[in-house]
């Protein structure tokens, strides 16, 4: 089963190391193959290095693709995670 969603990154430092590390941790909990796309580049959500190389900054529009039995819950959880990044930052947690 596959699923595609698009969202905009809202925390000001984008997908830098710590949020990216959490994304990887979450993604690795799912069986589905999870790919994040920005422009023409793409990266596996299960590789921190690949995500860092993607260079996702604030305001970046990204597409998430999931392929596997748990594709839908995986993307639900990842979308929620991006919301959490935005909340934590605005709540003043030093996310940098």
């Amino acid at each position: 089963m596959s699923e595609i969603r698009t969202l905009t990154v809202r925390n000001s430092s984008g997908l830098h190391a710590r949020p990216a590390a959490r994304l990887v941790e979450v993604a690795r909990g799912f069986e589905a193959e999870l790919v994040i796309e920005r422009g023409e580049k793409q990266a596996s959500c299960k590789s921190l290095i690949a995500i860092l190389k993607l260079g996702v900054l604030e305001g970046s529009e990204i597409t998430l693709r999931a392929d596997g039995p748990d594709a839908v819950p995986a993307l639900d959880r990842i979308e929620q995670l991006f919301d959490e990044f935005a909340i934590e930052q605005s709540a003043g947690g030093a996310v940098a």
């Binding site: 190391a17 990887v24 941790e25 260079g55 900054l57 604030e58 979308e79």
Partner: protein, 563 residues
């Protein structure tokens, strides 16, 4: 000889140098940890497994030394360890016959260089994390001892090195290591963040350092100016010596008092009971802003009354008798809570935020208020603060709601002043509220009509805009006239150089992030109220932000950050 670099952790220190030179780490006397008789893949697996255990221990240590949020720095390395782009590449090289040491070193360097070339400074600084990880695994493969110098018996040293890894930095004892200076490094590196959290002054990016530095040489480090002076004159050494009675960097647990005897309460912002414990350990006089949103994160269901009361009681208990101000759920705006399925609004900052949300969902709000009331029965230090209040009526609505749940007088109900309307009506609100606390971040963005999350408007967002200062002045005057305590809980309060101005404007309660507590207390203890009043008067008379900055001795555009 004066060398200059980039100051990344503030403070000054003068002490003998200990120079760490990158050498090929010698083999451990007890021999390599891994069995050399085994094939490369077997040794690699063993070293990676041990590295995993080590990193778990490092993360645990970081939690207690620099706090949960900064411990996540080391989670980055933990995630890299089983990254297919790293371990996958290392494995295929080893399978092709490379030595595991060489494979780890090469792949780590390749990946680090790729990351270092990224255009964003924050991302490129992550190359250091990859190198730290690579060094760790190579060390384990070789069985080499921990590379950092043996400082046993030393009482005060400055460490000089080409670079320190975040793990090295975490292991530094601030009682012995008075400062750190390195040739490499960047403000945004995780090493710099750890230094700031530990309160060790640090200067990085000092070119030519290791050519000049010798063990035992006296050196004067100024983490604010970003300078490193080798073999300074006696006069300089004396100027670096702590002044008599000066106790900076020792945790100041007592109240901060100005030189002419005015007490200023320096509180901390927190989001969890662990934050509260840390803030108290760092000398905070209480918690000026406890963000309850975090309780609503990370769980699949909204926490019920018992669960909320349990966490609030733990936090209130950790405050150990000091006042603790719980801000009721502050979501909406740029803070979403997926669990609640909120509508996406066209202008979220002007939408259903803070108390507006709470009053629209009294089912949730009542649960939170009941949990807070229940906690207040056991903890007299508990206060409650309402975010995004725009009118007296909203405060009255909450009071009425509290009345239906219990005794409204049992809990001190205060108001966060962050909407210009509330600031303008501060006198009327102060008559009803137990206290006011100004949220300068949102007040600034609403007053200046600048979205503070919009990068293209960064230059327009300035908390020192005279309009903000005049509003702060009028809120303080209104509150004090009504005999209502008034404080500040925005980032502005944590800027040591701005503290005299805020005290001069009438603020006696400043709530800042925990690592800023000591700096702010130090700033208070160096100033007089008399000077502060004169400063405030001049600042309020300024017609431009640049004049205010000049008055405060700030060069425009420079803002302290605490990671």
């Amino acid at each position: 000889m004066m060398l200059s670099g980039v100051g990344v952790s503030s403070g000054r220190a003068c002490a003998p140098l200990v120079v760490l030179r990158a050498t090929d780490a010698p083999a451990h006397p007890a021999g390599p940890l891994t069995d050399t008789g085994r094939d490369g893949t077997g040794r690699l697996d063993e070293a990676v497994a041990v590295a995993q255990l080590e990193l778990d221990a490092v993360i645990e240590l970081a939690r207690t030394r620099v706090g949960d949020e900064h411990a996540a720095i080391f989670g980055v390395q933990r995630a890299l360890l089983d990254d297919p782009e790293w371990i996958g590449e290392v494995r295929s090289r080893v399978a092709a016959g490379d030595d595991p040491e060489a494979a780890v070193a090469h792949v780590s360097e390749d990946v680090a260089e790729m990351i270092a070339a990224l255009p964003d400074e924050y991302l490129s600084a992550r190359a250091a994390d990859i190198r730290d990880l690579g060094q760790r695994v190579v060390r384990l493969l070789r069985g080499a001892p921990q590379p950092l110098a043996d400082l046993a018996g030393e009482t005060a040293v400055v460490i000089a090195a080409h670079d320190l890894t975040p793990t090295d930095a975490l292991a530094l004892d601030p009682d012995v290591v008075k400062a750190v200076v390195t040739e490499a490094g960047a403000r945004t590196s995780h090493t710099s963040i750890v230094m700031r959290q530990l309160g060790i002054p640090a200067v990085v990016s000092v070119t030519g350092l290791l050519d000049q530095a010798r063990d035992g040489m006296i050196v004067a480090i100024d983490g604010d100016a970003g300078t490193c002076e080798l073999e300074p004159t006696d006069a300089v050494v004396r100027s670096f010596a702590p002044a008599p009675g000066h106790r900076s960097r020792l945790t100041r647990l007592e109240a901060a008092v100005t030189l002419d005897g005015t007490v200023v309460h320096v509180l901390a912002n927190a989001a969890s009971p662990a934050d509260v414990r840390r803030a108290v350990a760092q000398g905070a006089d209480g918690i000026g802003l406890y963000r309850t949103e975090f309780l609503f994160l990370g769980s699949d269901a909204l926490p019920d009354e018992a669960e909320q009361a349990r966490v609030y009681a733990e936090a209130a208990h950790a405050a150990d008798g000091r006042p603790i101000i719980f801000r009721t759920l502050d979501i909406g705006g740029d803070k979403h809570l997926p669990l609640l399925g909120l509508d996406i609004e066209a202008n979220p900052f002007l939408g259903v935020r803070g108390v507006r949300f709470s009053l629209s969902r009294t089912d949730l709000f009542e649960v939170q208020l009941r949990a807070l009331l229940r906690t207040a029965e056991q903890h007299a230090n508990l206060r409650v603060m309402l975010p995004m209040i725009t009118s007296v009526e909203e405060l009255e609505q909450v009071e009425e709601l509290v009345l239906t749940l219990g005794d409204v007088s049992a809990v001190a109900l205060g108001v966060m002043i962050e909407v210009p309307a509330a600031a303008t009506m501060a006198d009327a609100i102060a008559r009803r509220a137990a206290f006011l606390s100004v949220g300068t971040n949102d007040l600034t963005q609403y007053l200046l009509a600048v979205d503070r999350t919009n990068d293209t408007l960064v230059h327009l967002y300035n908390e020192l805009h005279p309009a903000v200062l005049r509003m702060l002045a009028s809120i303080a005057v209104d509150a004090l006239r009504e005999d209502t305590p008034v404080g500040i809980c925005g980032e502005l309060a944590g800027r040591a150089e701005v503290v005299p101005l805020l005290v001069g404007l009438g603020y006696r309660h400043l709530s800042v992030s925990p690592p800023r507590v000591q700096d702010v207390k130090d700033a208070v203890s160096r100033m007089t109220l008399e000077d502060a009043l004169a400063l405030a008067e001049r600042a309020v008379a300024c017609s431009r932000a640049s004049s205010v900055e000049e008055l405060l001795g700030l060069s425009a555009g420079i803002r302290p950050t605490d990671g």
